[in-house]
Symmetry: C2
Subunit: 336 residues, 2 copies
């Protein structure tokens, strides 16, 4: 309820703003009866006092939040590092939240941030974020939001992504040029815009090269890696013709490596593998992993720069724009 503030509360209760404020602070100046009435009503309508309100009137919280679906992922660590560089320059604090790819957790974190703990938010969505009220509420509460990587196109604000469609197309053409014809695509989610764009690129490259699309070779995974491993194993065992895997995100490539090891499948002889990844050890893997490497640091940095521009202009509504940075295909032994 973004429009509940001390003023409205006072009006509803027929008392002064100062009485409401003092009641909520349990002041000795207010009678117990009044205090109880104010607190009960505030509780009833879900009013949560802004802990830093006094501070905000004069200064701002000097804090922004970055919300990521996972931290155990080099993409997000590098993006955080990029955002942190900007925050430091601006003498701001950076709160980092991890949703563990859980939509409920994402909603609860954002709800909590509406009270003014932060001045703005950088967010990369969970793979199961299917409604956006929690984001709209945050913006309505006066907290500007910038998306990076896992974005939501339904909300009008700035979004920093990489060229997912083109990179998906290039990754698939790379495999085709290496002689692969039965290429599987492993998606992290059907909801994520990045996965869908990467898949579109994959389908387009197949079509352009007159390769018939096979729906069995498109696997949708989630955050349960044991389950994902089983899905990939099932594919490899039911469809032995599969000669390549294009993994949409980093951890799915590692799961594919583990499955290949378990089933004694040789990479790249039996199956070639390419994936979106900022893995620091990509070159040291057995075999070294061909990656589409996102400009993660730059993406975090750009997202933060846009957010600070709006904070400096005291604008809550950020111009609806897509900033698209280029990823790089780095060929290594997994597609030799």
């Amino acid at each position: 309820m973004p429009n509940i503030n001390l003023k409205n509360l006072a009006k509803e209760l027929g008392v002064s703003i100062s009485t409401v404020s003092k009641s909520l602070k349990d002041s000795h100046e207010i009678s117990t009866e009044t205090k109880e009435r104010v607190v009960a009503y505030a509780k009833k309508i879900g009013y949560s006092p802004n802990p830093y309100a006094g501070f905000l009137r004069h200064h701002k919280s000097k804090t922004i939040a970055l919300i990521a679906p996972e931290l155990n992922n080099n993409y997000f660590i590098q993006a955080i590092s990029g955002a942190e560089t900007v925050a430091q320059e601006k003498d701001y604090h950076l709160l980092i939240y991890c949703t563990n790819d859980d939509f409920q957790k994402e909603a609860s974190i954002l709800k909590d941030l509406t009270n003014g703990r932060v001045d703005g938010v950088l967010i990369s969505l969970t793979s199961n974020t299917i409604s956006y009220d929690h984001i709209n509420n945050l913006i309505n509460a006066g907290i500007p939001v910038v998306f990076f990587d896992r974005v939501c196109h339904e909300i009008e604000t700035a979004k920093v992504t990489t060229d997912d469609f083109t990179s998906g197309f290039n990754a698939t053409e790379h495999l085709i040029k290496k002689g692969c014809k039965n290429i599987a695509f492993i998606s992290a989610s059907e909801n994520l815009s990045i996965c869908n764009k990467r898949k579109q690129g994959y389908l387009e490259a197949l079509a352009k090269n007159n390769i018939l699309e096979n729906p069995n070779r498109i696997i949708v995974c989630d955050s349960d890696e044991t389950n994902n491993a089983q899905k990939i194993k099932d594919l490899f065992q039911s469809d032995i013709k599969t000669d390549a895997v294009f993994a949409s995100i980093e951890r799915l490539a590692l799961t594919t490596y583990n499955v290949c090891n378990e089933l004694n499948i040789n990479i790249p002889k039996d199956k070639k593998i390419i994936c979106f990844s900022n893995l620091r050890t990509a070159a040291l893997l057995n075999p070294s992993l061909t990656t589409i490497t996102q400009p993660a640091f730059e993406m975090g940095k750009q997202a933060a720069i846009i957010l600070f521009k709006s904070l400096e202009k005291k604008k809550i509504k950020i111009f609806n724009e897509n900033i698209i940075l280029k990823s790089e295909l780095i060929e290594r032994n997994s597609t030799k």
Copy 2:
């Protein structure tokens, strides 16, 4: 200057607390002359108003900070995750700061936290933290501190570490049992207690097995990886007898792998490698890496539990104790 507060300021200036408070808020109720005098004096003595003071009197900031020297390191990601679990349970926010292993940055972050932005701090020091005033100032300002992993024994509070000496001893004995006699130890810093304890374990294992210690085989690295790679290369080229490397921290093992690739040195035939690491891809490397794996998640969790115990008891001074958790040696192909 932890003892400067509104009360003292008012006393020094010969005005009321309310006048100081209103002056610092640029209130129209106070004359310009008085405001200028108050602000100038506050500035002179370095008084930084506590932005959340009003909030703190009634609630607390409901935030703790975790300060890590690097984020691009699986140990710290897992430790953060452990601390976050506890913070969430307690309905607290977790601020994450990365010092990039820079002592000046660490000092500046801590200085900034003395103003009450957080209720407590979990910290793992940089490898060049050689004085501790910034930590003592924080504790004196009423913010309890718990160390994890990279600790400082000079300060009396709780420290959560792993069994560094024993693990260093076991790692070295593991290499000796595999037939190695000319084992190099690569330290991340001469200042870090964890590196020194791991080195002590290494030296003790050599002595126990009647192997003469060779000071040339003890290399001290820093955060400059190009420089570190050169140091390791110099060792391998000047002392070809070196038959094993014990790396004290994760990124130094990856640097050693890169150097071996560059010099066409076969791991494990020419040189065996073991290291402290929580690398997710350890088993997928070429060759898979033998690690001493720290209970990182548990260490972050324990550190947070101790901090919250003190917060709940409203105690700033935390009992001086060493909590030592066990690491695990996981044998893989790099020491076969």
